[in-house]
């Protein structure tokens, strides 16, 4: 075993011991604790837990790479995945906390006095959460297999086992306190390498400032200018300029924002704080903790791209390639990551050196997976072994915390909305708690199975999850609070119309239910309606939802008196009945 592996085992093992310790300390003994942690979570701590809940394996491992390779255009993810918290804080969280129930479908069912609305919400919730959880399960397996060199499926089983212990025992209470620990692990793991790299490249320890600083090589050239120039010289597109269409960027950002605010596993986190005003501030704290990573990621992306080019394409401008990386003297990290298939080169011109250029005919780096930007970055920059070990623990923490939050949303919807809400209304608290634990165990097994045998469409599901949340859940919740006149027919028609158009649009280009070969048109900008990509359509679906719901409700009967009182009641914080029991 190498020193690096020993470090990795020690760091990952240490974090696992911590999670299990928390699981034992934070067992849930009532449904209130299982679903919403007894509504006793401090707003700052809830913000931290929300940060871990929200930032997935994709945020931790893939986002910086996405930025590194698309430059300015990747801003849609940075703005989209943070701006949603403004909508959440101002339009949903405080009111849903005031309502004070356990799940998102429960509010929709009660507010629109309709089991149909509740069932539609449950279906959207389970589809969105399950598709999302597949990626996390894969992330756990990948992190284990790459860093600890144990087979993918053992890594997955180990991850499932850990989640099983704290989520089944502790429910929301256990998940909350492990998420807090996982946030600390992941943010430390993300920022430490970023600080090192920023120091090396620009002499500034704060990556957010380093990105705008001059290079430390004494040339006085700004990092972003150098990156733009290098990329253009090599035939890539410039880093800071726009490549995609403005309309599509606009709609994708909007879809991601609305989708973020409508994702049930995030909304549910705000049911766990003691008061309405805590729900407001907690959303702010959540965004603070998320912003630490999201403002670091652009720096990591740009600096890693520059580092990678400098390592391979040593003299980046001259046509003379005698300074380029020699294939008989590749650095260790290169050969290590080549083994995993994330890096691949091909000496096309047979000169024994690698050319890394924009022209596909001459480019010899035939595969540079975007995940490499975070995973291999510390090695490329020659950082110490313990930093590399941290990245492994951080990636696993990000995947575990998001997986647990999603699984909890799924199991609550099953035990509270389906079992208690529809099938067996008169079961007592103890039986419902048991149903919750069984649903959680079942959800973990299903998620694990899907992680092991990912359906071919795993890469498409992000568009689906955000499309569903944006086009169905967010508008229904918002109108439930802000439009007193909104009735059951309006809400149900709106949800179905928004959901229907969004699903059809996604399936039209990606294949019906993602079955390969069933797409109605090739998935490219020439065929898209007004150049809107399927991933950006959620915002349009939301608009359709709002329009249909308002139109239908205006010609149908106003909601009954008690529902109108309910809306008046959730609009004021007074009387939220804070329950603090731990």
């Amino acid at each position: 075993m190498t020193t690096l592996q020993m470090w990795t085992y020690a760091v990952v093992g240490g974090t696992f011991a911590l999670y299990i310790f928390i699981a034992i300390k934070a067992r849930a003994s009532t449904t209130g604790e299982f679903y919403v942690a007894g509504k006793g979570v401090h707003p700052v701590l809830n913000g931290m837990a929300t940060g871990a809940d929200w930032m997935s394996a994709a945020s931790f491992i893939s986002m910086a790479g996405l930025i590194a390779f698309s430059g300015y255009d990747a801003s849609v993810y940075l703005m989209g995945w943070t701006g949603g918290y403004c909508l959440l804080a101002m339009l949903l969280a405080p009111y849903l906390r005031k309502y004070g129930k356990f799940t998102v479908p429960e509010f929709i069912g009660d507010r629109f006095y309709s089991q149909t609305a509740r069932v539609v919400a449950v279906i959207c919730l389970i589809t969105a959460s399950l598709t999302y959880v597949i990626g996390q399960m894969k992330g756990i397996g990948v992190a284990f297999s790459r860093f600890l060199e144990i087979p993918f499926q053992y890594g997955l089983f180990l991850g499932m086992g850990i989640v099983f212990i704290y989520a089944v025992l502790g429910g929301m209470k256990g998940v909350t306190y492990t998420q807090i620990a996982q946030y600390c692990v992941l943010i430390f793991a993300y920022t430490v390498p970023a600080i090192f790299i920023s120091l090396t490249l620009t002499g500034t320890p704060i990556p957010q400032l380093g990105l705008g600083s001059a290079m430390a090589d004494g040339s006085g050239v700004f990092l972003l200018d150098k990156l733009d120039k290098t990329l253009v010289d090599l035939g890539f597109s410039a880093y800071t300029t726009q490549k995609g269409s403005t309309l599509d960027m606009f709609l994708l950002t909007m879809s991601l924002m609305i989708g973020t605010a409508g994702l049930p596993h995030v909304i549910t986190r705000f049911f766990t704080v003691p008061k309405v005003r805590d729900a407001r501030s907690s959303a702010g704290w959540a965004l603070v903790f998320i912003a630490i990573l999201y403002t670091t990621a652009p720096a990591v992306g740009a600096m890693a791209r520059l580092n990678l080019i400098d390592t391979i394409q040593a003299d980046s401008i001259a046509p003379d390639t005698s300074q380029n990386l020699r294939i008989d003297a590749l650095p260790t990290w290169f050969t290590n990551w080549e083994k995993t298939g994330l890096l691949k080169y091909e000496d096309k011109n047979g000169d024994g050196r690698i050319q890394y250029v924009g022209d596909p005919a001459k480019n010899e780096m035939v595969k540079v997976d975007r995940d490499i930007m975070v995973l291999a970055n510390p090695e490329i920059a020659n950082l110490p072994n313990w930093v590399i070990a941290l990245v492994a623990a951080g990636g696993i923490a990000a995947a575990l915390s998001t997986a647990a939050g999603l699984l909890l949303a799924i199991s609550s919807a099953i035990s509270h909305d389906i079992v208690k809400g529809i099938i067996a209304k008169d079961i007592d608290d103890k039986t419902e708690l048991m149903a919750g634990r069984i649903a959680m165990a079942g959800a973990i097994v299903v998620a694990g199975y899907l992680g092991l045998h990912p359906p071919g469409f795993a890469a498409q599901v992000v568009a689906l999850a955000f499309g569903l949340a944006a086009s169905s859940i967010f508008p229904a919740l918002m109108m439930g609070i802000f439009v007193k006149r909104m009735n059951n027919s309006g809400a149900v028609c709106g949800m179905l119309a928004g959901l229907g158009t969004t699903l059809v649009y996604i399936f039209w280009f990606k294949g019906w239910f993602f079955v390969p070969g069933t797409a109605m048109a090739p998935d490219n900008a020439a065929n898209w309606f007004m150049g809107i990509s399927p991933g950006s359509f959620g915002a349009v679906g939301a608009l359709i939802n709002f329009a249909v719901a308002l139109a239908v409700s205006s010609v149908t009967k106003a909601p009954p008196e008690h529902i109108q009182h309910l809306v008046e009641d959730i609009r004021v914080p007074m009387g939220s009945g804070s329950a603090v029991d731990h």
Partner: protein
């Protein structure tokens, strides 16, 4: 207009105000006017539009939420609808 309606109207006004800023820094500065703003550089080497898209909008979002929470708490007290 009764107090409950006044409270709700003040709340809506606050939310609209905050969302105008939310829209301006992200969709406005970060997307629609990014090209024009990139002509200006700040903090050394950041083109302004690019900075808004990858840094500034996120900082503004954080400030907005805390501002909203602070103003709402004031409104709650003013209209006597805060939690005990």
């Amino acid at each position: 207009m009764n107090d409950a309606q006044k409270y709700w109207q003040a709340n809506i006004r606050l939310v609209i105000g905050c969302l105008v800023v939310w829209f301006a820094v992200s969709f406005g500065a970060g997307i629609l006017f990014v090209h024009q703003l990139n002509a200006i550089t700040i903090l050394g080497g950041y083109p302004l539009g690019f900075w808004f898209a990858q840094q500034g909008s996120i900082y503004t979002f954080v400030v907005l939420i805390f501002f909203y929470a602070w103003r709402m708490n004031q409104l709650d007290r003013k209209f006597n609808v805060d939690e005990v």
